[in-house]
Symmetry: C2
């Protein structure tokens, strides 16, 4: 690449960045702050069959679709990845990711730990970031604070999160998302993306 | 590591960062700006037998030593790496690097392309950053502007730099150090170090 005088190092291959981690680590909050800060990434909108929470907006936070529509998307192979998460379906619309990468933009997607493993297999060149809390207590407190769960649902999430914490080894990077340091988390994710663009052997996503 | 509640992710293993690249890409200038910006790294002071340039300070820019003293350091195995660069010897005092790493500080060293290859073999866990210019013209102009060379010396440096540009594949990261974007270069190096500290499988330097 150095031999090509027209090569412009500041316009490298776009990256596929997966932000994952157990329930309660604050994936949504981190993504929200990244958007608020106007970072120049394409943020993937996930399709889901789960009910909309009060503050969520369709097409912005998620595409809220019916089970029938979700089934159609699976049949038509329109989803990059999909999974059942706490009895609800979530999936990444494929074309959206392709369009964003084709436009040269880095693509950032939030995805559950289970789904991140699938992405790794489908697209080994993806950059996988595992968000975690400083300790388990902080994670449990966050799940409790969410107050959208029944007691049984909460216990299920805590048990699952404990298992998911063990999956960190499958990821490229780990970032502690502490309660009062949200901007540091975002800064670290930016640094990871910045650094990845300077790899001598760049990742080439081919979806 | 997640299982250990005492693990503090913000105090990870110190890194060994090698800033390299052909003559004329501005390695010294980049290191100088990193120091001016007060970045919290240990900057290795290289020992050299070459004559001091007017603005250089002994013990700060280099340790300027006699050929006899350099020979003694080689014999006593006090150098991590040493090489002949344009008829002068340069070497990295080993103990200095060990002391800095032991204190938990990331160690940054500037080293010629030839020496970076040696470091890679001695310490595979080092982070190797290759500085380059946007194109060859910019590199040649910088070498000319230095005005510390005879015409023959300049031609030798240009020829060597051309060869060294081909060694980029042996490095981890490549950073274009453009003339008017010195702070961007430093920001990128910082991002690389920041990101490296968040690798799930951290590099462990064992010198």
């Amino acid at each position: 690449m150095i031999a090509d005088p027209d090569f412009d190092i500041f316009h490298p291959e776009p990256l596929l960045i997966v932000i994952s981690g157990p329930s309660g680590v604050g994936k949504d909050t981190v993504l929200q702050r990244m958007k608020e800060r106007g970072l120049p990434f394409h943020f993937v909108v996930t399709a889901t069959t789960r009910p909309k929470r009060p503050k969520e907006v369709n097409g912005v936070d998620y595409f809220f679709v019916s089970s029938d529509e979700f089934a159609r998307m699976i049949e038509a192979d329109e989803l990059l990845e999909h999974a059942i998460v706490y009895n609800d379906y979530k999936g990444i619309p494929k074309q959206q990711v392709r369009d964003a990468l084709a436009s040269g933009k880095d693509v950032v997607m939030r995805i559950d730990v289970q789904g991140a493993g699938t992405i790794r297999k489908l697209e080994p060149e993806a950059v996988l970031v595992f968000l975690t809390t400083r300790n388990e207590e902080e994670m449990v407190n966050r799940l409790r604070a969410r107050k959208t769960e029944t007691p049984e649902g909460l216990n299920l999430r805590i048990a699952t999160a404990r298992q998911e914490l063990k999956r960190v080894d499958d990821f490229d990077y780990v970032v502690v998302n502490s309660d009062f340091l949200l901007d540091e988390t975002v800064d670290t994710i930016r640094a990871i993306i910045h650094a990845e663009h300077h790899r001598v052997h760049p990742r080439k996503v081919s979806l």
